[in-house]
């Protein structure tokens, strides 16, 4: 018995002199994997138009019922997205979301993507609801902010011509 005890004590003593593996979190962040499913982002096209067309397929696909979408009509004087409609309200309740990524799969325009931000904490339930303003990405450098005034008859298709998967 004492042999094993000495052996065990020796093992722990050996480990005392190894460097700790702790990552000092707030100062030192570990990069996540490329396919990590973190907080959602609503993407834009290069010209600044929103990808989301307000179809609610993500809300339908959501198993946790976390997404709420309300669509409104686009006009050429105030165009948010290509096609007929855009999401005037887009809310995700982060307390309900289980980060399964079904919304991402359901989206016909690849508007919603689960990105790499995992620092989601709130002081109350109301602030756990992320609105469209919080979810949507910034306007790209060459694009214009929405709503845009566009020439009639250009953005008639709501779903772009898809490229083949690479």
């Amino acid at each position: 018995m004492f042999g094993e005890i000495i052996k065990g004590l020796g093992t722990t003593l050996k480990h005392l002199f190894m460097p700790p593996v702790t990552i000092q979190y707030p100062e030192q962040k570990r990069p996540v994997r490329t396919r990590f499913k973190g907080r959602h982002e609503l993407k834009r096209y290069d010209n600044g138009l929103e990808r989301c067309i307000g179809c609610s397929l993500c809300a339908a696909a959501c198993p946790a019922d976390a997404i709420f979408v309300e669509a409104s009509e686009n006009t050429d004087e105030a165009r948010y997205s290509p096609g007929e409609r855009y999401a005037s309200t887009y809310e995700i309740n982060m307390l309900r979301c289980i980060f399964c990524g079904y919304c991402e799969d359901a989206c016909p325009t690849q508007a919603i993507v689960l990105e790499h931000n995992y620092e989601l904490s709130f002081y109350d339930r109301a602030s756990a609801i992320y609105t469209k303003e919080m979810l949507i990405v910034d306007v790209p450098v060459n694009g214009r902010a929405t709503p845009q005034v566009v020439e009639p008859g250009v953005f008639t298709r709501s779903i772009p011509d898809m490229e083949n998967p690479k």
Binding site: G8, T11, V21
Partner: protein, 360 residues
């Protein structure tokens, strides 16, 4: 400083007692930090390093931090004091409130006889052989054994008064364990007592002038250490507060500073038992140049206590918990026979040496 009257003696004891209690309570706080830090390092972690640090100024560059987490005990204390102090409805009120106090007081009592240093001219009055709260008690060892037996009451009463099955199971385990291991400990403590021919702890320390009793009696030292771990309910004998099965044993119904008092008693007893081990087997306050500079005794005692604490934490990090039947059979069938046989051999040897049959 000469002390003549009884009142002067009382004042001396009170002052020293206050200082020692204060030092040991501070020591308790930093023992918790030492345990957390060392345990963390043994498990490849860093341990608490947020509460308080000493910034090292660097020219530009990254700010460097020294002693990260040294205010953690203060943060813990503040947390404990400000937590809600809940009293469950069904508890036996008086016993429930008394139990933590009964646990803490014996732990402080044992401090009275421990010699922290030798005769220090400007602190210890003439006629006192060593620095302690009550130096020169000629039954010091008996006093310690008596007081450690009392401290089991606090645990048992806490378990019983909580009116909870986990607590009572923890309390029952504690009483059985402490009584079993007290026997082995009492018998091994007799070995240094016989070697020094005195129950006065100061005389025991002075008896180790030539050689530490650790080298003279390694078996007794080992048995004392194991029994002390069991007495303290430290790992691997911590099955009265086994988190996995009893959630927290006898402390389960306690909260806030009442829980903190059990914690306090446990860590103070850790320090005290390390000091006792130093006194019995590691030559107490004795060390190089202690005859020329008696105040060095404090440093040596502190060093030995620190070493003992580190070993306790190291053992906690290494060994799994004993099963209850293993604990009992180990105590009664292994430790007790070893200590009895060892005790008898030492007694016979001492007689033989004194009669001149064996010469050293």
């Amino acid at each position: 400083m000469a002390i003549n009257t009884l009142s002067q003696l009382a004042v001396y004891s009170l002052v020293v007692g206050f200082i020692m209690t204060f030092v040991v309570i501070t020591g308790f706080a930093y023992t918790t930090l030492l345990e957390r830090k060392l345990l963390a390092r043994l498990q490849h972690r860093v341990g608490p390093n947020r509460a308080g640090y000493i910034p090292i100024p660097t020219r530009g560059g990254k700010e460097r931090k020294l002693l990260g987490g040294f205010m953690q005990p203060a943060a813990d204390a503040v947390k404990l004091f400000f937590k809600e102090d809940m009293t469950p409805v069904m508890v036996d009120k008086w016993t429930y409130f008394l139990a933590p106090i009964i646990t803490v007081i014996p732990a402080i009592f044992i401090l009275a006889v421990i010699p922290w240093a030798g005769f220090v001219p400007y602190i210890t009055p003439e006629g006192r052989d060593y620095f302690a709260i009550a130096p020169g008690i000629n039954v010091g060892v008996l006093f310690i054994l008596a007081i450690t037996s009392i401290s089991v009451y606090g645990v048992v009463l806490a378990g019983w008064s909580s009116n909870s099955k986990y607590a009572i199971l923890g309390g029952i385990r504690a009483s059985a364990q402490m009584i079993s291991y007290e026997l082995a400990m009492g018998l091994t403590v007799l070995v240094p007592v016989m070697l020094a021919n005195s129950m006065d702890l100061g005389v025991i320390v002075e008896g180790q002038r030539g050689m530490w009793y650790l080298f003279l009696q390694p078996i007794a030292a080992l048995v004392f250490w194991i029994a002390a771990l069991a007495e303290l309910q430290r790992a691997p004998f911590d099955l009265l507060e086994a988190e996995q099965e009893l959630s927290a044993g006898f402390t389960v119904e306690y909260s806030s500073m009442r829980f903190g008092m059990f914690f306090l008693a446990e860590y103070m007893k850790m320090i005290i038992f390390c000091a006792l081990f130093a006194v019995f087997f590691l030559g107490g306050y004795r060390g190089p140049f202690v005859d020329q500079v008696p105040a060095l005794g404090f440093v040596y005692t502190a060093l030995k206590v620190f070493l003992g604490l580190c070993v306790m934490i190291w053992i906690r990090a290494s060994l799994p918990r004993f099963r209850y039947d293993q604990l009992m059979s180990f105590g009664w069938k292994v430790l007790l026979p070893i200590s009895v046989v060892n005790f008898m051999i030492v007694a016979v040897m001492i007689v033989l040496v004194e009669e001149g049959v064996l010469g050293f």
